[in-house]
Symmetry: C2
Subunit: 299 residues, 2 copies
Amino acid sequence: MGAPDQPGLDALRRGVDAALERALPPESQWPTRVHAAMRYSVFAGGKRIRPLLCLAAAQAVAGETGRERAMPFACAVELIHTFSLIHDDLPAMDDDDLRRGRPTCHKAFDEATAILAGDALQTRAFEIIIGAPVAAGAPLAVLEGLAILAQACGTAGLIGGQIDDLKFEGVPATPDDLERIHRTKTGALIVATVLGGGVLAGASADQKAALKAYAEPIGLAFQIVDDILDVSADAAALGKTPGKDAKAGKATWVSLHGVEASKRRAEELHDEAVAALHAFGDEAFLLRDLASRIIHRAS
Amino acid sequence: MGAPDQPGLDALRRGVDAALERALPPESQWPTRVHAAMRYSVFAGGKRIRPLLCLAAAQAVAGETGRERAMPFACAVELIHTFSLIHDDLPAMDDDDLRRGRPTCHKAFDEATAILAGDALQTRAFEIIIGAPVAAGAPLAVLEGLAILAQACGTAGLIGGQIDDLKFEGVPATPDDLERIHRTKTGALIVATVLGGGVLAGASADQKAALKAYAEPIGLAFQIVDDILDVSADAAALGKTPGKDAKAGKATWVSLHGVEASKRRAEELHDEAVAALHAFGDEAFLLRDLASRIIHRAS
């Protein structure tokens, strides 16, 4: 989809990787070990779904100019996502040895370094938004974007979701519990990346509402597909041990609703998300493309 | 010191505690366990030296108005300081059981909760500056303050200092190593709190330079006095086990230079800091008072 002169997702992904490269201090710079650990986890073959959603939203609002203004935010969200993975993998939390087919950060380095690398990625995420050239030109939009990101990271978002996720390990969770965990642990950052991309690109109130109406179902669909892949994909495609959630006694969408109902729900959420994009017209092509890829991904 | 109608440090400290109370979600709010852990560590009897330095700098620049504008920043710095203590105390880091005479956060709760409470305090620190009423009125000053804080928290500041501190446990550190650890681990946040307070209060370039010239020696003096107290104070006054650094084989100012030379150096740094305040006149009375208290404190 999209006009021939429009960028595809692959080109945008390369742009995100290049911007992330510039956003992180070099390994050669003191303190080298923490910088190495930050880079190890950020450049671990992530699909950059969140930055792409951010840029896609900015594209829908203001085309190429929008994408340029949103790039620091797109990178910041990926750093926040990486920070949360590093800390969630720690022995005191989910105690995971593998992530994307490679040793987790605390396995490749050590626990102290992994804790500090996570901390530093959170700091750096805020710092690159604060320090972007766009900040001086549109300070109120930048402050609005920062507020959206902070809200998604905090106890009402990522952190609340993670503590709830730990709480329900081996304890029966109701469908309501699980939906709250998904909404906070995964959904909040996905909504923030879409909304923040729009805000940095100068979205109107109506556009922000439309982006939120797209992002909320997409965030939930993303996690439902994760739960389906956990029982159906093989380890090589997934880059982690499949069936791990089921073995840990964690409730998943599939364990509560079954595979078929989960697939149907993901499709419904996809349709709901895409319907919210109507007012953007063709400029929402990247958001439509991503919605489809998120539902139909194999890993 | 100060005119009779000026606030004393005790009144300001009560104001900081009240503002911190408002800055943190209530324990009754989901996720309750993380909120309880955040409050446990923030309200653990800290002396609020960093927030007071922030407000004192704002007072020097713009009196009461300055202090009001700087209050969110003052609280944010205390949250960052608390976050760094919680993570530094973890078993994978300094492995401390006691902090200010009470069990450390991971002892009172558990490691996962302590990691997440620290993460959440960092997020909340940025969030309260971003969301303060002052942000909309003076967005560029707020962004400048945020940049100063992020720089102090990051790998060039707190985080770099902590990883170096771990590295030199049981390994001989040179005086240069130690000065870098002190400058990053303790000094960076002290400089940021003074400078940020001034920036939020509307400091000129000359005023910012003067505040930095005050804060850098004060930051180093603060740590030297800490090292002196580690070998001379008793456990009750200190709220932690004295002599711990020496036992851990950590280089301290005292182990490298001796007690008497350390005391002299702290006095010199005090005088240097106070001399930098000349241009502020009487409005710098709180900064002078704090300099004296930092050097002469018994705990």
